[in-house]
């Protein structure tokens, strides 16, 4: 049996757990180790799902079928527009915005009136919503105990009050730890995220229990509904009302941005813009999960309690109870409690900040008796005001709950609240994207929209509750039919939300735009407009500083800060500022425009931008700047930024292009130098034999008296040099062909052993003449076939052999040719016992016209092109040619030719 003390104990334990989580979160935040991760942030956004979702969705589904989904589809679509949210977050961080009222007021010239107006609208629109949460808690207690202890006295009235009181204490403890409202309440956010997990788990548990325990699954429920005539309409959508669907999607999409608690969680409490990346899908996923079982529960309840007067809003509790699953019912109660507490806490913090900063403070500042000029710490008073506001708001909620009871004005308040905060949309969107929006326009729009909302939605709900006469709804104000509250100007046939939304936004947007266009913005308005709209482009402290001119004293401003922030916190902020300006002691900070700006932003965090403006201007002597001047400065700032960015980009490009050109030029010069060297070398090589030929033939020609022996000797030289010249020209051409890859190759199977033997044979005479011993070591067995050009291979062999014979000492020279078959190639070695090559020469000999072996014995015969050509040929076959040598120990030229791939 569920007993009251057990429930009381569990509720207390649950709230105690929330306390613990919030404490932990705050402790971690103080220690600089934030527990707010992307997931926590996304879950905390689900404060959107209040007890109105937890209990009310099922109720709505019993009458409207799937239309309740609009309330969750709207936010899904809206949160996908991340850039809007990012912009709100950026603006709020830069301007130290504390609430949605502060946001709007700050944008339109830090207007105290506007801040107050938004606060009033928010309080009127949202306090009944808080009452709805209290009612949900009391109603669920009612359900739990009506069936448990048959309680006759209305004891729960007091328990609701107790819960309201506990929530007030909780909110005060965690919502007003710091005066600075932009200071995040990380403990509270963590607790709210935990709430979200609990309510989802509880709701899904009940959903599974009913769908799969009580019934045979979703199909079963839906099929049974299809078989029941009065339930079939719940299975489809009401196609007759497409505009209702659309306007509910719209209004809930706006609510996710502009409900004070959503603004608080999404914008003010945002730790890191990057967290939005998770929220953008995790939050919609949460909404989807918590809604899957709503329709099955609604139909299940209707089927189960058919004919019995059970309130559909309590199906989440009554269905488990009816099955005797009391544990589950208590869990569901805790889920509902968590949904209500999360909403109440955040909403109350948000509203109390607004009430304190935007209603009470301006009023206090205007009081003659307020000790403005005295040096007194006001931070305590401020905290007191905020705490008082929290208690007051919850008290108001409780009073509304007691007064309204079961009245329609409470039941329908969810959407009525949504429609109220939708009035902020024109001023907010216009403020972020339209520079021409003015304070007068915003006030006009808000007043118009709010009045229409009041007349077409809130007052009719009062009338329905019987609190006021309903004549203005049925016959129109003063009996004028075109003033019928829910068929304004004869527009009938719409549901009340669509009707209100249409007319209120019509009036709101119309007035906002028209008045904005007809009015001229003030200086502060214009500069704030620039800052807000261009926030993504605009961050220029220098311009920020130039936007203020006047005389200030450090003492005066520090005094202000100490009074409103408290001395300790003020000093801390001042020290941080001094450090950022690279001043060692904040007492030596210059009282320049930047410092005034800093002081004003700090104050704005504590008392809102509008009051901060008033306070700062009272403490310094300001020279007013003209509107044109302000706009010029801001324009210039963003233009200069744009220009400098452009310049930076251009000069970066230029630099890169220059570097590229320089390196290309260097490459070209290097190539040119190489070509020049080559040409010069070729010229030299060609002229040398020509010189002998020309000189000798000239002498023979001029002097017929030359002796015959000389004559024969000279002719011999001429012939030899002519041959040398021919060889040289051939090889140069050959090399040019090889290098330009225009050489003709005939590729075929060549027995390399045979090539070696043949080339040795063809040079046999030369070896004999020089008395050089030639030995060949060829592997036994069949032919060694490689894929190559036979003639070219022969050219390489002959080249290596004639090189060798050139360098060995005549008489006892020895040249050894060895061939081995390796795993993948054939290796041919030509070893001699010549002078060998120095370490530096091993590569040089493969360069063009670089012959080795400069000795006193004279220039070796050759063109200096044989080895480069040979290397190119071998490389063409896929092999390598290199030399291994040490001076005095002979040289071994080695080349490899790959064997053809075995086809196995």
């Amino acid at each position: 049996m569920t007993s009251s003390w057990l429930v009381a104990l569990l509720s207390t334990a649950y709230l105690g757990l929330l306390f613990a989580i919030a404490r932990f979160g705050d402790a971690r935040a103080d220690a600089g180790k934030s527990i707010i991760s992307a997931n926590v942030y996304a879950l905390s956004l689900a404060v959107y799902c209040t007890s109105w979702t937890f209990f009310g969705s099922v109720g709505r589904a019993t009458s409207g079928g799937l239309s309740f989904l609009t309330i969750y589809i709207g936010p899904t679509l809206m949160i996908l527009c991340v850039s809007v949210i990012v912009k709100m977050v950026r603006i709020s961080k830069r301007q130290r915005i504390t609430s949605i009222a502060d946001f709007i007021a700050s944008r339109y010239g830090k207007s105290q009136f506007l801040a107050g107006l938004v606060t009033v609208i928010a309080v009127i629109g949202v306090v009944p919503y808080i009452a709805l949460q209290l009612k949900a808690i009391s109603a669920s207690l009612d359900v739990l105990f009506q069936q448990a202890v048959e309680a006759s006295e209305p004891w729960w009235l007091d328990s609701t009050f107790a819960i309201a009181a506990v929530l007030a204490v909780f909110t005060i403890l965690f919502g007003t730890r710091h005066l600075d409202a932009t200071e995040r309440h990380e403990g509270m956010v963590a607790a709210v995220a935990f709430d979200s997990v609990v309510k989802l788990a509880a709701f899904v548990a009940v959903g599974l229990f009913v769908t799969y325990g009580l019934f045979g699954g979703m199909s079963d429920i839906f099929q049974r509904a299809a078989a029941t005539p009065e339930l079939t309409r719940l299975l489809g959508l009401d196609h007759g009302r497409p505009e209702t669907w659309t306007s509910l999607v719209l209004v809930s999409g706006l609510a996710i941005l502009f409900l004070p608690r959503q603004f608080q969680i999404m914008v003010v409490e945002n730790v890191d813009e990057g967290h939005l990346r998770r929220a953008v899908w995790l939050f919609p996923l949460y909404l989807l999960l918590i809604n899957i079982f709503v329709l099955p529960l609604a139909i299940g309840g209707l089927l189960h309690f058919a004919g019995r007067p059970v309130n559909p809003d309590t199906f989440v509790l009554t269905l488990p109870l009816a099955q005797g699953a009391e544990g589950l019912a208590v869990f569901a109660f805790i889920g509902g409690l968590s949904a209500a507490t999360g909403m109440v806490i955040v909403e109350t913090i948000a509203l109390s900040t607004m009430v304190c900063n935007d209603l009470v403070m301006p009023w206090l500042l205007r009081l003659q008796s307020f000790p403005l000029s005295e040096r007194q710490d006001l931070s305590g008073i401020l905290l007191g005001i905020r705490r008082g506001a929290i208690a007051l708001i919850l008290l108001l909620g409780y009073a509304y709950f007691r007064a309204a009871g079961e009245a329609y004005a409470l039941v329908g308040i969810g959407l009525i609240s949504f429609a109220a905060v939708a009035q902020f949309a024109p001023a907010m969107f216009g403020g972020m994207y339209w520079k021409a929006g003015t304070r007068a326009g915003a006030i006009g729009g808000l007043l118009g929209g709010f009045a229409v909302w009041l007349y077409t939605l809130l007052l009719p709900s009062f009338a329905k509750s019987g609190w006021i006469g309903s004549a203005f709804v049925e016959e129109g104000l003063f009996g004028w039919p075109w003033l019928k509250a829910q068929a304004l100007f004869g527009l009938s046939g719409l549901d009340e939300i669509s009707h209100c939304l249409f007319w209120s936004l019509f009036a709101n947007i119309g007035l906002y735009v028209a008045v904005s266009l007809l009015s001229r913005p003030g200086v502060v308005e214009a500069s704030q407009a620039e800052r807000f709209v261009d926030i993504l482009r605009y961050d220029h402290p220098a311009a920020e500083a130039r936007l203020w001119r006047g005389r200030a004293s450090v003492e005066g401003l520090v005094g202000l800060l100490e009074r409103f922030l408290g001395p300790a916190r003020a000093r801390q902020q001042l020290a941080a500022y001094a450090a950022s300006r690279k001043v060692s002691d904040w007492r030596r900070i210059a009282a320049d425009a930047q410092f005034v700006h800093f002081a004003e932003t700090q104050l704005a965090g504590a008392i809102g931008s509008a009051s901060a403006r008033v306070m700062v201007s009272s403490a310094v002597e300001e020279e007013p700047l003209g509107l044109e001047e302000v706009l010029d400065i801001l324009d210039e700032a963003s233009q200069v930024r744009a220009y400098s960015r452009e310049l930076e980009r251009k000069s970066g490009e230029l630099e890169a292009a220059t570097a590229e050109l320089r390196s290309a030029n260097e490459r070209l010069l290097e190539l040119d130098r190489l070509k020049d060297d080559f040409v010069s070398t070729v010229t030299h090589e060609l002229r040398t034999p020509l010189t002998s030929i020309l000189a000798l033939s000239e002498m023979l020609h001029d002097d017929p008296e030359i002796e015959l022996s000389d004559r024969m000797r000279f002719l011999g030289i001429i012939v030899a040099e002519g041959e040398r010249l021919t060889r040289l020209i051939n090889q140069i051409l050959d090399l040019a062909k090889l290098e330009s890859k225009q050489a003709e190759w005939t590729s075929g199977e060549v027995d390399i052993a045979e090539v070696v033997r043949e080339s040795a044979g063809s040079l046999g005479r030369l070896f004999q003449d020089r008395r050089v011993a030639l030995s060949t070591e060829l592997p036994d067995g069949g032919p060694l076939v490689v894929l190559a050009d036979r003639d070219r291979l022969m050219q390489v062999m002959i080249n290596l052999l004639s090189n060798a014979v050139k360098f060995v000492p005549p008489g006892d020279g020895r040249v050894r040719v060895a061939m081995t078959k390796e795993a993948e190639d054939v290796r041919v070695e030509v070893a001699d016992n010549g002078p060998g090559l120095g370490a530096g020469e091993a590569e040089v000999v493969f360069e063009k016209f670089r012959q080795g072996g400069d000795t006193l014995t004279g220039k070796p015969q050759g063109t200096g092109l044989g080895l480069p050509i040979s290397r190119r040929i071998v490389e063409h076959f896929g092999g390598r040619l290199w030399v291994e040598s040490r001076p005095g120990q002979g040289a071994t030229f080695i080349f490899t030719v790959p064997l053809p791939r075995q086809k196995t």
């Binding site: 799937l66 899904t76 996908l80 850039s83 979703m218 990346r277 989807l288 482009r537």
Partner: protein, 65 residues
């Protein structure tokens, strides 16, 4: 971090522009009938919704890196 003019944000906004017509009239009037007893419109709504969430998760978590 979402950066200025981040293509991711535009992709997500495009998803919103895709979702808006898919999740409102006149397209909502199209699914009729039922599958395994579950109304088509129920499956359609949750299917499109879930699909959008899946795409958003993919865009936000993977494309942003």
């Amino acid at each position: 971090m979402f950066k200025r003019s981040s293509p991711n944000r535009q992709r997500l906004a495009a998803l919103a522009l895709l979702g808006a017509p898919l999740l409102s009239y006149p397209l909502l009037a199209l699914p009729e009938g039922q599958m395994n007893g579950i109304p088509d419109v129920f499956l359609y709504l949750f299917g499109v919704w879930g699909g959008l969430i899946g795409l958003a998760a993919w865009v936000a978590e993977h494309r942003g890196k």
